[in-house]
Symmetry: C2
Subunit: 337 residues, 2 copies
């Protein structure tokens, strides 16, 4: 426990994963192999994370990284919270179509909206990317940033997962919350790097993950500054600004953080380049893939899934020194109690 402050120990030990708390230290920290990451079973995945943290925080050691340079990046959908049967943000868009339908009588006869209103998701999405973009722009653009933020806050406070029946903010992975807290307790900056919309995440990531808005990177649409009755607003336009997925993730990391992370956590092939970029840097690195193989407690999917497809990552993880986490075997709990 050398150099490990009492407050940090308490944070790490907090088995109930007190969301949003953080503690930082500029002194040398040594993780606690016996008590850290309590929702993780002993095994190679837990050890890989603890060994990495010990290595980069051991002052004078060969792998030491100063506190200000300990950057860790996390995908969101499927890595920090549930992404099945559909991405949560798509569920938000579908609910918004229903909420906005009275203002859009034309939607009753226009696809993909008509099928959404009839509850036929498969038919609504049969139009592929074009249909998806139509749904996103119709429900995410045309308002101000502050209006959209309130809409997200209201929705996330009341929506329930269709199968698991809990609020989405309770369908976060408890073992991953423990990793976020362990890293912050050891002087890391923790960042979210998601293909999801940045404005859909920022209203709640601080309360749920302890990650403030300025450490959330995601896909975005264009915003425009204008005056309304003398008051400035930022208006959300129906044009794509940035897609933070696949090769876009290293681009987003460089754009927002400006330096290369030393640890990356993902779950799908959309995270492949983020892990590749992170683990190609000099010095000790950590690449982790969460494998959804727990049909009993969550969902089991990988190569053939339309959501969170994971194939190349499984094929190449061993050769690249990345750790594959089995949700079934490595986690003794999945969600908060």
């Amino acid at each position: 426990m050398t150099g490990y402050s009492r407050r940090c120990v308490l944070t790490v030990l907090a088995a109930t994963a007190a969301l949003g708390t953080a503690c930082s230290t500029t002194t040398t920290s040594t993780p606690l192999p016996s008590a850290a990451l309590p929702s993780w079973n002993d095994g190679p995945a837990r050890s890989a994370i603890l060994d990495f943290v010990a290595a980069v925080t051991t002052e004078g050691g060969p792998d030491y990284v100063p506190a200000g340079q300990r950057i860790a990046v996390f995908d969101n959908d499927g890595t920090l919270w549930v992404e099945q049967p559909v991405y949560t943000q798509l569920q938000f868009a579908l609910d918004r179509v229903k909420a906005l339908a009275p203002e859009h009588p034309e939607w009753r006869t226009t696809e993909p909206f008509a099928s959404v209103l009839q509850g036929d998701l498969a038919k609504a999405l049969a139009g592929g990317d074009k249909a998806l973009v139509q749904l996103v722009m119709a429900t995410h653009a045309g308002n101000t940033t502050e209006e959209f933020s309130r809409t997200v806050e209201d929705w996330i406070a009341t929506a329930r997962h269709p199968k698991l029946g809990r609020p989405y903010t309770q369908l976060v992975y408890r073992p991953m919350i423990e990793v976020l807290e362990l890293l912050r307790a050891n002087g890391f900056e923790t960042w979210i790097v998601s293909g999801g919309g940045v404005e859909f995440m920022r209203p709640w990531t601080e309360g749920v993950y302890g990650v403030p808005p300025e450490r959330v990177i995601g896909s975005s649409i264009v915003t425009k500054y204008e005056l309304r009755g003398g008051t400035p607003v930022l208006v959300r336009l129906p044009d794509v600004d940035f897609i933070d997925d696949k090769v876009g993730k290293p681009v987003g990391i460089h754009k927002f953080i400006g330096r290369r992370p030393i640890a990356a956590f993902g779950n799908s092939d959309g995270d492949f380049e983020m892990l590749e970029w992170t683990t190609s840097g000099a010095g000790r690195r950590l690449g982790v893939i969460v494998h959804h193989d727990d049909a009993a407690r969550e969902f089991a999917y990988d190569r053939d899934s339309h959501v969170g497809r994971l194939a190349r990552g499984l094929d190449e993880a061993a050769g690249r020194g990345w750790t594959v986490v089995s949700m079934r075997d490595d986690w003794n709990a999945v969600f908060p109690p």
Copy 2:
């Protein structure tokens, strides 16, 4: 001095402006009217800053803002460092044209490069924005992000200001460094929001201003992820990604920070919308304009300058409650000793 930690007091008192040091506190802080901001003369500008800091950090007071939400944004050129007779980044581009000329024999007969190589800046820039974009893209794109970063580091370590004869990193405004340190000592996040290129600033802002790369917002060109011999790189393409100036500044602030600052510091009309956006928020706000009126110690310019033009800001500052700083009257020192 209630609640003011000893270490923070020492930081604020550091008359030699120990660049890059920072200290944060989560307790209530009260600034020190007699010792804080030693390079500022007593007067309304210094008082406006100190009163604001006292107001938003006084727990239980009507203007209190929790530490995590104390965001302050600073323009760079002309607000934190010198911008006359030409923007430092333009000087960098001109020097790079000369350095790269042997690889580009065609530049000897092609404008704007030919005039740059002949030392005729006025003729080189006679082509307006098109010439400027040509100079920037020829000197800023075509390399990897790591190569460009090293080029900037090498240049900034050796270049000297043409009139003042000092390295550019010593031509930062000592009173503003004190403001950055005072704010950080009082639980603020300090961000740079500049029209300049983000990759031109990030290599040195942490050492010079104590602002790490991830808190620097600026203009950018597009980068592309690719593999070179199996090694991933980010390649800088000759296409504009984002212009962080005028109405782009609030857009950049929202894109990168995701919440509205409570204090903004600028010096030109390029900062107008940033100050407008910041000071239009609810609660107590601070808007500050640095007015270059000190020809003896630096440069005197405003309405008619081609660099750092300031007209609307001067006209509307009083009506909007913004503080105009006279470099001549409000600062007892301009640069570090």
